[in-house]
Amino acid sequence: MIRAKNLTKFYGGKRALGPISFEIEDGKTFGFLGLNGAGKTTALRILACDLRPSAGTIEVGGVDVVAEPHEVRKKIGFLPETPPLYTDMAVVDYLAFAGEIRGMSRADVKRRMGSVLEVTDLGEVQDDPIGTLSHGFRQRVGVAQAIIHNPKFIILDEPTRGLDPVQIVEMRKLIHNLKEKHTVLISSHILTEISQTCDRLLVLGRGRVLGVGTEAELAGTKSEIRSVTVTVRAPGSGDAKALMKKALEAVDGVKEIGDPSEQGGGLSFVIATAKDCRADVSRAVVGAQLDLIKLDYSRGELESTFLRLVEGSDGSN
C-alpha cells in the first residue's frame, strides 16, 4: 500500500505539487494522468525517493519515505523519463550493476537475469553495448533495471515516450506482464496509454488532484453528459427534426436533440441524455413510424472526462 497525505513540493517559492492525498492498493496498476507540468513527474520522483517532499507524509509499504529512504528504495524500481543508462556498458553488465547496487548478491543477480531478459525481451541484445541500441531497446533496458531486484513497486514515468507505434504495443505488453507480480505506477499524458494499462487513475492538474478512481468512476460520477445517436431513414414528408422532437418529447432523460446529419443513407441525430435511455428512445422512434436504422450510445469517455477535469481546474484557478 502507498499512502500519501497532503504531499506538497515547492521549487523555490513555486508550488509544483500539492497538497495532494491518495492511496494505492497493492497489486493494482495506477496511472498518473495530466498535462505537461501537472506534477506527475514530481509526484513519482518523491515516491522513488529522488526528491524530498516540502510537506506532507508518504508511506510506501508502511515505510516513511523521508524517515527511511533506503528502506523504501529497496522496495522500488524506478524508470524516469530519460532511462538512467550507462551507454558504455553491455546490457547484462549494466543490469548486474543495477541489481548489485540495490543490494543483490552476484548469485541472485545471475539467477534473476534470465527471467528479466525474457520478460523485457532483451535476449538478442544482451551482450551489446547500450550505446548501440535503438530507442525502444534502451527503454526496455530502462524497465529491466527497474525490475532486476524484483521490487514490490515499479514506477514508470512516461514509459512510452518517444517510442514508435510498434514499440508502444510491445511496451504495453511488457507492462501487462509486470502487472501480474508487481504494483505498477505509470505516468502519462497520453490518454489511451493510461486507459489501456491502468486499473485506477489519478488525474493531476497544476499540481492538484482533479479526480481519482477507475475510468468508469471518473466518467460516471463527474459526467452527466451521455449521448445516444439515432439514425433513421429520411421521412417521405415533413421536417425530420420536428418529427424526432415530437417522438422523443415524452422520453425521460432526453435533454437536447441535435441537428440531423446525413450518414449511411439515413439521418443521424445526436441526442444528449442524462442517463442511458436507449430502450425508451428506440421504442419512441419506432412508435412515431420512423424507420430506425442504427442506435449508438456513448458514455463520457476518458478523453472528455480528462478535458473537462482539466478545464474545470483552469477555470477554478
Binding site: 529522488d50 528504495r73 530519460t82 550507462y86 558504455d88 548489485e100
Partner: protein, 241 residues
C-alpha cells in the same frame, strides 16, 4: 562498503573502456616526455637536481591528469540522467563519491606508473636512490589526488561539464598560487595562506626533493578529505533538494 566497491568497479571499467581516458593518458604522457626531453635533461647534470626538475614538471602533469579525470565524474551522470540509478538506490552519497574517487585514483596511478621509465633512466646514468623516486611519486600521486578531489567537487556542483572543468581549474589555480599571493601580505594571514598552498611549500620543499615530511603528507590527505567531504555534502543537498 559493498556499494563503494560496486561503484569503484563500474567506474574503473568505464575508464578502461573510455577512449577519452586513454587519449588523456596518451597526451599527458607525451607532454611529460616532452618536458623530460626539453626541460629536465638539459642544463645541470647533477642527477638529484635532474630528478627534482623531473618531479617539478611532472607535478603539473599529475594535477592536470587529476582534473581531467574527475571533472566529468558527476556532471556527466547528471547530463545523461544515469545518476538517477544511484540516487534512487539504497546507497549513501559518501559511497558514490568514494567509489568514483578511488576509481579515478587507480587510473591516475596507472598513468603515473607508465611514466616511471623516465626517473629510472636518470637512475641508470646517475646517483639517485629508489626511495627518492618513490617519495617523489608519492608526492605526484598526492598532488594529483588533491586535484582529483577538487575536480570531483566541481563536478558535483554543476551539470555542465565545461563549467565543471572551469570551476575545478579555477579552484586549482587559486590553491596553487596562494603562496605567491601570500607573499604580498604580512603577518599571520601570510603564514596561513602559504601553508594552505597546494604546491610551493608542500610539494616543492618536500616530495620534489625526495624528502618525506609527515606534515606534507597530512596536508594532502586533509585537502583530499575536505574536497571529498564537500562533494558528498553537495551531492546530498542536490539529491534531496
Amino acid at each position: 562498503m559493498a556499494a563503494t566497491s560496486i561503484i569503484y568497479r563500474r567506474e574503473l571499467g568505464a575508464y578502461l573502456r573510455s577512449p577519452f581516458a586513454w587519449v588523456i593518458a596518451a597526451v599527458l604522457l607525451l607532454v611529460d616526455g616532452i618536458f623530460f626531453r626539453g626541460f629536465v635533461l638539459p642544463g645541470q647534470n647533477l642527477s638529484a637536481i635532474v630528478l627534482e626538475r623531473y618531479f617539478y614538471w611532472s607535478s603539473g602533469v599529475a594535477m592536470a591528469a587529476g582534473l581531467l579525470l574527475s571533472f566529468r565524474l558527476i556532471a556527466e551522470e547528471r547530463t545523461s540522467n544515469s545518476i538517477v540509478l544511484l540516487t534512487t538506490s539504497p546507497v549513501r552519497d559518501s559511497q558514490i563519491i568514494i567509489g568514483k574517487f578511488l576509481a579515478a585514483l587507480t587510473f591516475l596511478a596507472i598513468l603515473l606508473v607508465m611514466s616511471i621509465y623516465m626517473p629510472l633512466l636518470i637512475k641508470v646514468r646517475g646517483k639517485i636512490t629508489y626511495s627518492q623516486i618513490m617519495v617523489g611519486y608519492l608526492g605526484l600521486l598526492l598532488v594529483g589526488s588533491a586535484a582529483l578531489s577538487i575536480g570531483l567537487f566541481a563536478s558535483s556542483m554543476v551539470k555542465n561539464q565545461v563549467l565543471s572543468a572551469v570551476i575545478g581549474l579555477a579552484i586549482l589555480i587559486v590553491m596553487v598560487f596562494l603562496y605567491q599571493f601570500a607573499k604580498t601580505l604580512d603577518g599571520t594571514v601570510k603564514d596561513v595562506l602559504q601553508e594552505v598552498d597546494l604546491w610551493w611549500i608542500h610539494f616543492q620543499n618536500g616530495f620534489m626533493r625526495g624528502v618525506l615530511n609527515l606534515k606534507d603528507l597530512i596536508y594532502y590527505l586533509a585537502v583530499i578529505y575536505l574536497f571529498l567531504l564537500l562533494s558528498v555534502k553537495t551531492l546530498e543537498a542536490k539529491r534531496w533538494q
